[in-house]
């Protein structure tokens, strides 16, 4: 029995090696392929968690990027150039993300969207350093997730947001006694909370309690809520994602009468609370470059297209994915590549030119007007929003009204 089984395994193994063998072609091929209508295809490769605990983030980015690709192809903004999105599952794991990156390289990816989560992106960026391919991650926000020259990001980095948040709380005089509430096991939350803490101390804001939870225990927040109440906080700063925030607010609104303040992870909260628990998220303030109810025409057309195709309101991740693809198209335009040039160009040249273009372009996307610095960070303005009656509105202080 064991013998036959090990034989089956051995055959499988040989087969797998053969698959690995077969998938490699010689290096003499042109960098780009052409579709039947003689358009040059630029392949954009995305990686993110499509299964497992973080599946919703990966799927949002994938869908958002797909909308951008469809729009660009339909409008024919770039003559003779079409885009194709390839998206691979990372299960949220760095090692698997690197495997996925390899698979995309084998499939002829021209530009990489990096990863969706910070950890996997850092791995991908390290893996991409060798070929120098442009990596533009939509949503990896950890400071050193993009520590190589060829890596850029669409979203804010975590320290930026924590800083802004502390400054806005001080500036608008929202509170002086602040409770921190975040996922201690999550790099996004921790990164935000850490800079917020140091900036708040500098500004003379008092952090009365720091309550944390971890991924495994993100369902029952009763102890933390009790502690926040006992500490007498006036404001809860919660740099967490909307999914956890909805659960937290569900349990907290009855007990706490504080201000709830969050960063861009909270976008999508209205949809999450839905009509069922709409009152939970009333009056929550958040700092975000994007919100789905914006009257901005770029955001509007994106949201409409997304809702039509996927039947859901796009969240921050989707918007980031959309903008990343727009930026890539802009970088190609900036270089003035013609289809013929693309068919001639070497991979090395193309990657170099794309990376060089990133610091020159200005992109108007769903998350605002963006430019990039050489260290890969984006420069754009956050909006301070408040949820009122199930909609995001610009936040106004009480005396301004």
């Amino acid at each position: 029995m064991k013998k036959i089984f090990s034989l089956v395994l051995a055959v499988l193994m040989v087969a797998s090696c053969a698959v690995a063998f077969a998938s490699c072609n010689g290096g003499s091929k042109a960098l780009f392929e052409k579709d039947p209508e003689d358009n040059v295809i630029v392949k954009i490769g995305g990686i993110g968690p499509l299964t497992g605990d973080y599946a919703s983030y990966g799927n949002s980015v994938k869908n958002g990027a797909q909308i951008a690709v469809d729009m660009l192809n339909e409008s024919g903004a770039l003559k003779g150039i079409k885009f194709e999105l390839l998206f691979e599952d990372s299960e949220g794991d760095g090692t698997k993300a690197v495997n996925a990156f390899g698979k995309l390289q084998d499939d002829g990816m021209n530009v990489s969207l990096g990863g969706v989560l910070s950890g996997e992106t850092k791995n991908i960026v390290a893996s991409a350093a060798e070929s120098g391919i442009l990596v533009l991650t939509p949503s990896a926000s950890a400071k050193d997730a993009i520590n190589k020259d060829n890596a850029f990001r669409v979203c804010f980095n975590d320290p930026q947001q924590g800083l802004y948040a502390a400054e806005i709380i001080k500036e608008k005089g929202l509170a002086t006694k602040i409770a921190l509430f975040y996922d201690n096991g999550n790099d996004y939350c921790k990164g935000n909370a850490d800079t917020f803490k140091s900036r708040a101390a500098e500004l003379g804001l008092q952090i009365v309690t720091e309550q944390t939870y971890t991924e495994g225990s993100n369902t029952d927040f009763s102890t933390q809520i009790t502690a926040i109440k006992e500490a007498g906080a006036e404001l809860v700063f919660m740099p967490i994602y909307y999914s956890d925030a909805a659960k937290f607010l569900r349990q907290a609104v009855d007990t706490l009468d504080t201000v709830f303040f969050g960063v861009d992870g909270l976008d999508g909260l209205i949809g999450e609370c839905g009509t069922e628990h709409a009152s939970d998220c009333e009056d929550v303030i958040l700092l975000t470059p994007y919100f789905a109810d914006s009257v901005d025409p770029t955001v509007k057309s994106f949201v409409e297209a997304y809702e039509e195709k996927f039947g859901a309101t796009p969240d921050q991740f989707a918007a980031d994915g959309y903008d990343a693809v727009l930026a890539i198209a802009e970088a190609i335009e900036e270089n003035g590549f013609t289809p013929d040039q693309l068919m001639e160009i070497t991979a090395e040249d193309f990657n170099k030119k794309m990376v060089a273009a990133m610091t020159k372009i200005t992109v108007t996307g769903a998350t605002g007007v963006m430019t990039w610095t050489a260290d890969g960070e984006t420069d754009k303005d956050p909006n301070v929003l408040q949820i009122k009656g199930g909609e995001y509105v610009e936040y106004k202080t009480a005396d301004a009204e």
């Binding site: 064991k2 797998s16 499509l50 760095g94 390290a126 350093a129 921790k190 971890t214």
Partner: protein
């Protein structure tokens, strides 16, 4: 010579041969540039999973104690080894890799072994599924503690970017990985074959009988925990050097289960070949299934169930028998018959 060609020795030699073959294949693929990018990125994970699978097999198959916390030992090794490497590279920038990587492996392994011994002590009292829970609990504790240790990066992760250059990472690491795996395999197989190995298996088969024979059961249990943890720790160091960011949440229950699947699929017990092959196949399988995109993990889970049913359902024993390669079986039966006949002849002659 005669002793070397005994059945067990031949089996181990075959395992070693397969290992050497696998590494030679990897090396040729990398050196000639024939490996696809995807395959190239899978090579180092395959090697550390081989190491994890054979070390867990030592614990589960040879000692007979179920462990659901192997990833915990791996994480102890990974953090210790990588912390050391980062320190060494920082303070002695000129230190070549062939100095600090083996040192990191050794220290990572030793630290993991220490934790293995600590966990082995409850194993003296707690047995079976209860012990499985103790190991699972231990793994969760390690995970939680590391998340809260800021000098190990906490939730943000421990940066190991600087210790191995990005260029040709797989080719740089492969010699160390291959060396670690082959030496470990030789050590483990020698242990299993030795007097101590027989003692360990005696403990597995019948603890009381073993004790009655004067075998120090407690010593062997704790020792196996330590040894298995050591190799898991070495695998962790490899993992950490291959990745650029260590996150303690990676080393969770699911990862332990992944390793256990390899061991069970490869066949538990003193034969390590099964674990080696299963480790390679199970690392490659989800990657091969990428072409099914959305249905990938669904197909993976169905395959897992079907493979388990096919290989171990008692009702299918007949089919398995029929499918097995008859010529091997014939050869074996013939040999046994020949040996018997020879022996019978000999006794006859002696009687005469």
């Amino acid at each position: 010579m005669k002793k070397f060609l005994s059945k067990i020795n031949r089996r181990d030699a075959l395992t070693l041969l397969v290992l050497v073959g696998i590494f030679a294949f990897f090396f040729i693929m990398l050196q000639t540039g024939a490996a696809s990018h995807q395959f190239k990125n899978m090579i180092i994970p395959m090697t550390y999973y081989i190491l994890l699978a054979i070390s867990l097999n030592l614990m589960v198959g040879v000692l007979g104690e179920l462990s659901l916390g192997h990833a915990g030992f791996m994480s102890v090794g990974a953090y210790t080894g990588c912390f050391l490497s980062v320190m060494l590279v920082e303070h002695f920038p000129d230190l070549p890799m062939f100095v600090y990587l083996p040192v990191a492996m050794l220290c990572g392994g030793l630290m993991a072994a220490l934790f293995g011994v600590i966990i082995g002590i409850p194993a003296l009292r707690v047995k079976g599924d209860y012990l499985a829970i103790v190991t699972l609990a231990f793994c969760e504790i390690i995970k939680t503690v590391i998340i809260n240790l800021d000098f190990l990066g906490g939730a943000i992760g421990f940066d190991t970017d600087k210790i191995v250059p990005d260029r040709n990472k797989a080719l740089t690491l492969l010699p160390y990985a291959a060396f670690a795996v082959i030496v470990s395999a030789i050590l483990i197989m020698n242990l299993v074959r030795s007097k101590h190995g027989r003692a360990i298996m005696a403990v597995r088969d019948n603890r009381i009988a073993a004790e009655a024979c004067g075998i120090n059961v407690n010593f062997y249990k704790v020792a196996v925990f330590g040894i298995a943890a050591f190799f898991a720790g070495v695998a962790g160091v490899l993992y950490g050097h291959n990745d650029v960011l260590l996150k303690s949440s990676t080393f969770d229950f699911n990862m332990s289960i992944e390793i256990l699947i390899m061991v069970v699929l490869g066949g538990m017990g003193s034969n390590m070949l099964g674990s080696v092959i299963a480790a390679v196949v199970m690392t490659a399988l989800p990657e091969i299934l990428r072409d099914f995109s959305d249905y990938r993990m669904l197909i993976y889970s169905v395959m897992l169930i079907v493979i388990m049913l096919f290989t171990s359902a008692p009702a299918l024993a007949g089919i398995r028998e029929r499918l097995s390669l008859n010529f091997i079986k014939d050869a074996v039966t013939k040999r046994i018959a020949a040996a018997k006949a020879k022996k019978a002849n000999k006794t006859k002659e002696e009687q005469k």
